[in-house]
């Protein structure tokens, strides 16, 4: 890709977030899409490319009443939307379409019009993992952390601090699900879910959606919104199950995706003003900070505990409160992208003053996949 060849011109979440029992899941996609179109002054007939995950792109296109000339149904878990952005840039550069709509909608809490995904995402899982009593994500995604703790010195208090700092960010966001301050003791005394993970180290389960509209940069100036340029992108996959990660203390998919995004963007870590790292569970920002190279091995826990990522810190991270406090419908990546866009537009309720460059890093399918998007508000 060419850095800044394309831009996000429309971005919005669903009208409500949290508990939306009176809206079916596909309508959550549409509600977000209509909000994003209104955001940039387009109509649905202007869209000629669609990408989505969870539902098929054909279901989405038909529901919206459009017949696009480009589709992407990449569905690799919660970071699918980061991959959609990457693929959309390639499609826009190639001229396959002119205006791309990426949507997410998930009735994760209310399960209204919910489309159930297969319980076991792979043959490997069904044959060799499920019989041993792994089930929902808190019993799977958490599996490598004891190894991480023994090998790198990560502590339960470090994990608790991830939740504490993100709650601090969430307190700025009127739309965040949880906004009251918490302490390390609150986290460590919350209900044990899957040792060493307590409830407050695990994400919320909520309803919501979000949508993005992308076009080529030469057209981006014609919109009422401040363009947010896509400066770099990366993606990768490693394994369908945590037990088969090459190294339980580092995600190969994170490393490949992050490196590609930084290389295509032509940036160093010092250039990054704002960071989002998908946090379905408290250990993910730890892995992300280390695997993207912001800190060395074993340094991410202390880095967060010392306040570097909190409001006023040198690397503001997960400024919406993240999946731990803002919202988490199941495939959270879209909400991380939305907060990066708000920060680059200068309109986040927790705005980082003067932020010019944001890195938004996602995980999918429990260390299975990864996608990274570098955004900037400077052409």
């Amino acid at each position: 890709m060419t850095p800044n060849s394309c831009a996000i011109v429309g971005a919005a979440e669903t009208t409500d977030l949290g508990k939306i029992p009176d809206m079916g899941q596909i309508q959550l996609h549409a509600d977000a899409a209509l909000n994003a179109l209104a955001d940039c002054g387009l109509s649905i007939k202007d869209i000629d490319g669609v990408a989505t995950a969870g539902h098929s792109p054909q279901e989405l296109a038909h529901y919206l009443g459009i017949v696009p000339s480009w589709v992407d149904g990449t569905s690799v878990g919660g970071c699918s939307y980061m991959l959609h952005v990457r693929h959309a840039v390639a499609a826009l550069e190639a001229g396959y379409c002119n205006t791309v709509l990426i949507t997410h909608g998930e009735s994760g809490r209310s399960r209204t019009g919910f489309l159930s995904r297969p319980m076991f995402a792979s043959q490997f899982d069904a044959q060799f993992e499920a019989p041993f009593g792994v089930s929902i994500p808190p019993t799977r995604f958490t599996l490598p952390v004891m190894r991480m703790m023994k090998d790198t010195g990560l502590t339960e208090e470090h994990l608790a601090m991830v939740a504490v700092v993100q709650r601090e960010w969430a307190s700025h966001h009127p739309r965040a699900s949880f906004r009251d301050p918490i302490t390390v003791d609150d986290v460590l005394n919350s209900k044990m879910i899957a040792y060493p993970f307590r409830k407050l180290m695990c994400c919320l389960v909520t309803d919501g959606g979000g949508a993005l509209i992308l076009t080529r940069a030469d057209r981006a100036k014609d919109f009422p919104t401040k363009p947010v340029y896509i400066r770099g992108v990366g993606e990768s996959v490693e394994t369908p199950v945590v037990s088969q990660m090459k190294d339980l203390t580092s995600s190969a998919a994170f490393r490949v995706s992050g490196k590609k995004a930084f290389e295509t963007a032509g940036i160093t870590h010092a250039d990054v003003d704002h960071l989002m790292i998908y946090d379905a569970f408290a250990h993910l920002p730890i892995y992300g900070l280390e695997d993207l190279g912001f800190v060395g091995r074993g340094e991410a826990g202390p880095f967060i505990a010392e306040g570097n990522t909190r409001p006023g810190g040198k690397l503001p991270m997960n400024t919406n409160g993240g999946g731990l406090s803002y919202m988490h419908s199941g495939m959270y990546g879209m909400y991380a992208l939305q907060e990066s866009v708000r920060q680059m537009r200068g309109i986040s309720p927790a705005q980082v003053e003067g932020a010019k460059l944001s890195v938004c890093h996602g995980v999918g399918g429990m260390f299975g996949a990864s996608g990274t998007v570098v955004m900037t508000n400077e052409a």
């Binding site: 069904a126 044959q127 009593g133």
Partner: protein, 135 residues
Amino acid sequence: MTDRVLPTPTPETRHYWEGAKAGELRLQRCDKCSQAYFPPRPFCPECGSRDVSVFKASGKGTLHSYIINELGAPGLKPPFAVAIVQLEEGPRLLSNILECDQTPEALQLDMPLEVVFEKVTDDITLPQFRPAKEA
């Protein structure tokens, strides 16, 4: 009958499940590059060779990582450990830890483990692990 989630063997994995029924932990090794690997497949994931052999593994390993499931799962009462076992031959696999307290105090990382076989139905026996007995 059990509520336990049970595997459905495929042509490529049948030797593994037949082995468990016979009281053997069976892995595969590449005849070309001698890499031992898991899960079962009729080629080497390291070099791509189709020349591979099934062999009986030692059944020795160590506790590489784990969680203690407090939520339960079909056919399993919480709390119970779900562990990643590092096998002596190189591959890793998932297991419960039998004949052991399901507590952080009893479950020490890198403790030696040995395979045992848990018959669940007439068709399915699961390879499981327990703390290694003193030699």
